[in-house]
Symmetry: C2
Subunit: 231 residues, 2 copies
Amino acid sequence: MVSFHRRPLPEDLVAFESELGRQLLAEAIAAGTAGAFFPLVAQLHTQADPAWCGLGSLVTALNALGIDPQRPWKGPWRHFSEDLLICCKTLEQAAAEGLTLPEVACLAACNGADVRGVSAEPGTIDAFRSDLRASVTAPAGPFVIVNYDRAGLGQTGAGHYSPVGAVHEARDLALILDVARFKYPPHWAPVERLWQAARAEDPSTGHPRGWLVLSRGTSSVRPLCALPAEG
Amino acid sequence: MVSFHRRPLPEDLVAFESELGRQLLAEAIAAGTAGAFFPLVAQLHTQADPAWCGLGSLVTALNALGIDPQRPWKGPWRHFSEDLLICCKTLEQAAAEGLTLPEVACLAACNGADVRGVSAEPGTIDAFRSDLRASVTAPAGPFVIVNYDRAGLGQTGAGHYSPVGAVHEARDLALILDVARFKYPPHWAPVERLWQAARAEDPSTGHPRGWLVLSRGTSSVRPLCALPAEG
């Protein structure tokens, strides 16, 4: 069986830990456009299954928002992991099918976040930039999770989710905190290409992909939707 | 049953995501003493069991070193997680007893790292500073994992392991990338207090705790030691 230890990052993207990547972060911090980076990278989580990029992104964002799951994780600790995100869809279904943008939004809402989903229809580039800017200039959310087609960034794979931690406005780059760290560790990508990659149709919905904006909900965990009945 | 959503960080430590914490990182990057931060935080892993801080720190450091585990993790991907670190001690024993510094060193060596362990005997503060400096001024390892008693930092809990990502030399602070992110997200602590906390005796060995220096081995995975025979 063919197996992989990471995949080479396309040459027109910038690795977070490269010399240029380190410089871009320093400049984004200085420009005040890396606010989201700190809480998100502090909780950046590796998706626990190859199809759980939506769940892994949610685990990262919910923990970064400091939301209390109000139920135990392990031992005496309350902390989000994929297996606490049971709502809207079973983990088995998520592993088999992945998750659509509305399903990830549903899971976010069930677990105590205020969430807004945007479909990347034509003409939404300004809204995308505006949501990214509002996120990266704030120190503790809202956070943006982008749902995009990896092909649009020249990467192997298809539909994917990851949060964005920072923007470098002068070079028009976004720092993707990729939850598939076993494949592509964090990297910078052009904002416009990321938006174009989010415009790709999701075959499960027949609609474009897009992005989610998550913030700390006013109430805590709210079971808005139940698991579909079995059988 | 009493349960917790994080623990309050002692007031004399500095949270990574606080305004001061963000400033300290920017200054450490500018001073060239945050080299280790980038690869380590890109792979910072939450310990998967309350007693697996040594394993969680190793997962972080081995992935940050870019070592190929040469065996599958999930799907087609080769990536370190705790359950790949089977060598020297079973996971069940590690969960029940924790791991001593020599046991973590053994696991690191089995899994392809060159490792040097230092017991925090009296008079080793200069060696500690020197190992930290060599780590944080390099862009891709060696990496330092400290084994310390949380009580020495005013934290709840006892023996713990975590990697250090950066040093702020002017303020003499070290950035602890705590693998128990469900309890204490990353934070800055005084270097000398961290060394003092590493001087505490480990009741399992009767010797002081200390630190490990890990770098990419010249060979890859080397099964230096086998699991103890069962029964």
